[in-house]
Subunit: 866 residues, 2 copies
Amino acid sequence: IPAPCVAAISDKLISKGMSAVSSLCVCVSLQMYGRYTQDLGVYAKEEAARLREGSQRRSVSERSRTLDLLEYDKGRCAKCRICTVRCQKFLISRVGEDWIFLILLGLLMALVSWVVDFCIAICLQAQKWMYGGLDSNVFLQYLAWVTYPVVLITFSAGFTQILAPQAVGSGIPEMKTILRGVVLKEYLTFKTFVAKVIGLTCALGSGMPLGKEGPFVHIASLCAALLSKFMSLFGGIYENESRNIEMLAAACAVGVGCCFAAPIGGVLFSIEVTSTFFAVRNYWRGFFAATFSAFIFRVLAVWNRDEETITALFKTRFRLDFPFDLQELPAFAVIGIASGFGGALFVYLNRLIVQFIRKQKAINKFLMKKRLLYPALVTLLVSTLTFPPGFGQFMAGRLTQKESLVTLLDNRTWAKQGIAEEFDYISHSQAWKHPQVNVFVTLVLFIVMKFWMSALATTIPVPCGAFMPVFVIGAAFGRLVGESMAAWFPDGIHTDGTIYPIVPGGYAVVGAAALSGAVTHTVSTAVIVFELTGQISHILPVMIAVILANAVAQSLQPSLYDSIIRIKKLPYLPELGWGHHEYYNIRVEDIMVRDVRYITLNCCYRDLHDVLLTGHLKTLALVESAESMILLGSIERAQLQSLLSQQLGRPRRLEYIRERAAAEKKRLSVVSNPGSEDGSQRANHEVRFQVREATARGAHISRARFSWFFFCWQFFCSVICPLQSSPSSSLLLFYFLQIAEWEEQQLDEQVNFNNCKIDPAPFQLVERTSLHKTHTIFSLLGLDHAYVTSIGRLIGVVSLKELRKAIEGSVTVKGVKVRPPLASFRDSGTSSSENEATELHKLWDRHKSMSLPREHVPSDSDEKSQ
Amino acid sequence: IPAPCVAAISDKLISKGMSAVSSLCVCVSLQMYGRYTQDLGVYAKEEAARLREGSQRRSVSERSRTLDLLEYDKGRCAKCRICTVRCQKFLISRVGEDWIFLILLGLLMALVSWVVDFCIAICLQAQKWMYGGLDSNVFLQYLAWVTYPVVLITFSAGFTQILAPQAVGSGIPEMKTILRGVVLKEYLTFKTFVAKVIGLTCALGSGMPLGKEGPFVHIASLCAALLSKFMSLFGGIYENESRNIEMLAAACAVGVGCCFAAPIGGVLFSIEVTSTFFAVRNYWRGFFAATFSAFIFRVLAVWNRDEETITALFKTRFRLDFPFDLQELPAFAVIGIASGFGGALFVYLNRLIVQFIRKQKAINKFLMKKRLLYPALVTLLVSTLTFPPGFGQFMAGRLTQKESLVTLLDNRTWAKQGIAEEFDYISHSQAWKHPQVNVFVTLVLFIVMKFWMSALATTIPVPCGAFMPVFVIGAAFGRLVGESMAAWFPDGIHTDGTIYPIVPGGYAVVGAAALSGAVTHTVSTAVIVFELTGQISHILPVMIAVILANAVAQSLQPSLYDSIIRIKKLPYLPELGWGHHEYYNIRVEDIMVRDVRYITLNCCYRDLHDVLLTGHLKTLALVESAESMILLGSIERAQLQSLLSQQLGRPRRLEYIRERAAAEKKRLSVVSNPGSEDGSQRANHEVRFQVREATARGAHISRARFSWFFFCWQFFCSVICPLQSSPSSSLLLFYFLQIAEWEEQQLDEQVNFNNCKIDPAPFQLVERTSLHKTHTIFSLLGLDHAYVTSIGRLIGVVSLKELRKAIEGSVTVKGVKVRPPLASFRDSGTSSSENEATELHKLWDRHKSMSLPREHVPSDSDEKSQ
């Protein structure tokens, strides 16, 4: 008997290490592979036919066109017309090309980014104008300063909540999950796009410490998904799911790229943040789209006369010839390590706030009722504290995020020997200089206040990211260290010859890269920093600091995005830690679930019913028989439900009842005709006897079917009552029991799998596969579960849940390593390899003896059955 | 009968999208997976046991240590001693950590890179000194100028040839192949390391237009492999093959990183050049090691007083505030497009030279005899042409590669309105200024001459790369365009306000990135350029040019590395082109080989023998029976050979003959005893009858076994001749035939697979898998072949060869798209999906009827057998 466990991961592997987002349904796509496979096959076939047809049609039209050409040749404008038709056709045929799509995507995103930036700038200017205009009265000034952001944030929160709650937050965690192959409902719709763009503009326009980078990754993906839908009107290729995934991956790069005008950093950041395995061929797409997008984004600024030419967003002017001394490196390393701790603390704080609000039931209840109260309260608190005439004066409160960053990256030293320098502070830098307070105090206050403010603000349910606030805090921290160094070594460290004073701005660059790298667990923030500042001279300090920050942060906390994934309980697989050898030693047999729910090929509908009632798995294994346990494929739950309902659904039930009723009618009419009283008496007697018998048999009828019986009762009454004026209750019961008996009979029939879609290629592992490899495969192929087989025999199943448990069990957050579950049983399991050998030889022996195979399988269940 | 086609790609997938380099054997690793799997299983088990034992031992030693502690507590230095012991143990336990390995690797490679650079510099200085000292006599000068490189190159070629011919060339193509999972013999040995380092130093010291970047990737991988071997003396974790692959990937990044002091570019370049799928978790490793390596490499320069502090290798000093005007962008685009064509031409030229030399049999023969003649001739030609007082004066011949690059990136403009500027040319820039000839002519000559020289020089069989020469040519081309632009717009393009003159150095940067990007088909050359020059202000022009260059070059020619892979016929899978939709429509059934060689579970040794004789595949499919064709697994050829030799090898043959001889002896002695003459007569008669019979049967005995028969004859003679004085030839023939008959009998026995290692998890596809997905899977999992099955039934096989054919068939180099083979038969194949459904239902029906399954399979072979 053949076991069709075809290992077609192929049809399961959706687009190189990432996965499927083919339709916007809520379920995990993996569980639909069976159908996808078939759909795709059919689709590919149709597509091929269509193409062939198209080429034939084209050749036909070509011929007709030449005819047309001859015909119209006399007319003057004919040539032009033919030319335009040709061009049009050519253009339409080109619409399917990748680069057209990428250019459109880049253009669109650049425009969106620029418009959003423009609106944010106007919002912020309006606030400043209001604040500035009311300088006669401090209270009015305070009101204006506070009300404006509260209104904007509340509007943003409300608008998002009403239009598309999916638009809330950064979007990177969701994109990471989507690119892994999980289909999240409503995350890539037009509604979400509108909500995200408008919500983000309002949220950032309020001046709260929020970022636009995370949301832009989401917006770019939305753009790509919508554009893909739109383009599919022209060409069929846009319907291909693996292509769509590739485009989404490119879109993530565009998102970061057009937000910071950082194409390279954008590509790298998006890879690090969203992928586990990256197809190098997508790399190209990302670069292309991100570069185009960044280019347009900057060109718009030039056209708008904001800039003279295309330069970096936060251009710095550090000296080139001697950027830093070798002996300053320890200071950079200190920034890196401190940023690592700071980043971990930020992630922890952010999670703590979310969990605190969730756990406190009283608060939670209150906030749930007034959904907009929480954002308003947080905004009120933050903007009160930054009120410039108030506490804000000690923390440069009047500067917007962008202004603070520009001043922090300034290439001059603010303080010399602890006293503020007396040079001409240009415009914004003035804010850091307080007449009474040292610049160091201002910086420390800024860092501490912004730190918790950002952690708090990113928990507001509006579209917002945390990258930019963290970036600014990092820059401030770097500036603090730099100013301290400058105060410590007023003439620089370099001893021989020329004096090279220390550049605190360089420290700010290093700090910004390190802290944002620590929070997001990425190295590519280094590249983003270079592209943002337009200078790469500090490459080695930045790289060293970022790597150290990552090393520290990764060993303490998950990244901000992974933390959000955990909070939101999105179906995602945690990363394997760095250098944990035990993953090579834990094996699938240690973590798999041995009690697999399965259905057999010769099972009856009752088994199906029971399996469906007891388990909640979305797919079930189909094995040859309970004795052999040979895996044949997997079937979706929905398929089984439809099978069951075909066999025992309302239509068949009704049909049976109708038949039954007809027969009864006939019988009654026959009985009642000959001797009316006597006949009915005899019939009654007969019925009673049957009832008694049936009651005995039907005692186990489940109560769940009561409602159905009630329906039957009504039906019977309507059919039979006209014949027999008073149906005795015992008679009715008899009928019901008869129906029940019929149902039982139906359930005992063997299942006919003919009309059932079976996935012939469920993913399989062997029991000795290491955890490391299992993780690799799950993330490469975007699996949800895999069956564990031993020479075709199903012995267990591993799902994401088990894998997650195993990984998190051995690498707890606090750094304590726990032994993997069941690892202690491994010694006793040395028999498994022998076992396999014996299995194979049994197979061989069985084959050799050429007798009926099933009787020779010496399994437990076999012994039981004998 | 269970079909054990366990889809354990798991145990087949070696390290995330890349593959296995576990032992240095010549065969393609894929074909050894069966064994690997088992070995790994056993290994993992032993490892686990070892770990457990270790932990027990540790706890015991812990206890004993505390006892020791108590005992020695009185002694004074006891504490210190205990402390050191503890530290030592801790350190040893840490040796297994990744970061230790990476730091060591980085350190080692930085040292190697620095020493190589130092030696090259000395070599070049020596040449200059010789050339400078002989300025009295031009002929002597010429001799010195020419002999020096010829000797060095000849030595390099000879040394490499003798010690390790594997060290020849760039090494990137080989690393790409190795990272894909193919094990190349001797490519990662100490000998190769020595040959590569010394050969490279000599080759570059000669001043030929060669690069060190490709070889450094190879050297770093060699370093990693050797270091890994060395470290495995301390900890067992280094024996893990997937870990080794991860380390090799990091090593490639280190190679580029420490060569250019470009950590980010190094990582990206190595990813683009060597990987198809990249595990993001390796990214981190690469960054860490490459940064450390680049840092040490630059620190060594500072310590050696070459530099004041850590800066870029080819530092530029372009102005920051207005790097370029928006209207200059078309010029940058032109550089990009021209570089694309140039890059394709370079690859084509390089291949043409190799193929020309190979094809010209006369030349080839001559060169094969005198292996060192070709390098010497090429060197002679190149150095003659660059001789400074000769033709070299028109092409800045006296500058070394490094010097040319430094001068080309100069931030001043050389020419104004066609006339060379009269400013003070510092040192090397002087070389570009010729009293009679325009600077444009010099540049053009430089570009043209260096172009073919580089293409020619890289075909010399010495360790050398092509990146640096191409980079310099690109820079020269960029400079040419820049100078032209400067001559055209002497006051810059920017119209309003300040005059910003054009910076030709910026064009040189763009040109360098574009041309090297076009030749290698990478985008990351942009990042390398930024890191090399220490300025990122030209990011957008560079990105635009690189992307355009890539677009052009990729559509014309394969990358240089892929070209070398094709020339060397390394087992590698070509990349799918960009945006070729047809890959989604071609399916496995179109390209697969339908005539699969297989063995059945109940086959006899004769079948095995025949299969082994006819095919040359390294693995064979094992199916249940020829009728059912259910795939059970795959067996290596070697395994089958050993099976066959067990059954019919020398030991068994000897044993049989010994038995036979003993029986004969006994019979003869019995026969000869009773009636001597009569008995032997009767025996003779008997024998003759048997002989006739046997001759008739044994007529088909193959002649191949004649030698074996000869051996048998001798043996028989030695045993029987002493008994019977004159063995008649017919009697001997009888014996032989009897042996032959025995052999035939042996061959007709059923094969016993008991002692045979069967890979229960050969990789399987279904027939509808698209070419796109098949390519993805092959490159992700590093497969060599995959079986195509339909519900467990083997219907075909796809190997790398078919896949390569299909891909290259549909994307030929000249851009002509050919229909894939067999694609036209697809229409007729619409039955396949129906077929599958029928198969499954047949399976089900068969199962339902519960009769002997094999008689109900309605396959062709079944009908035949009836």
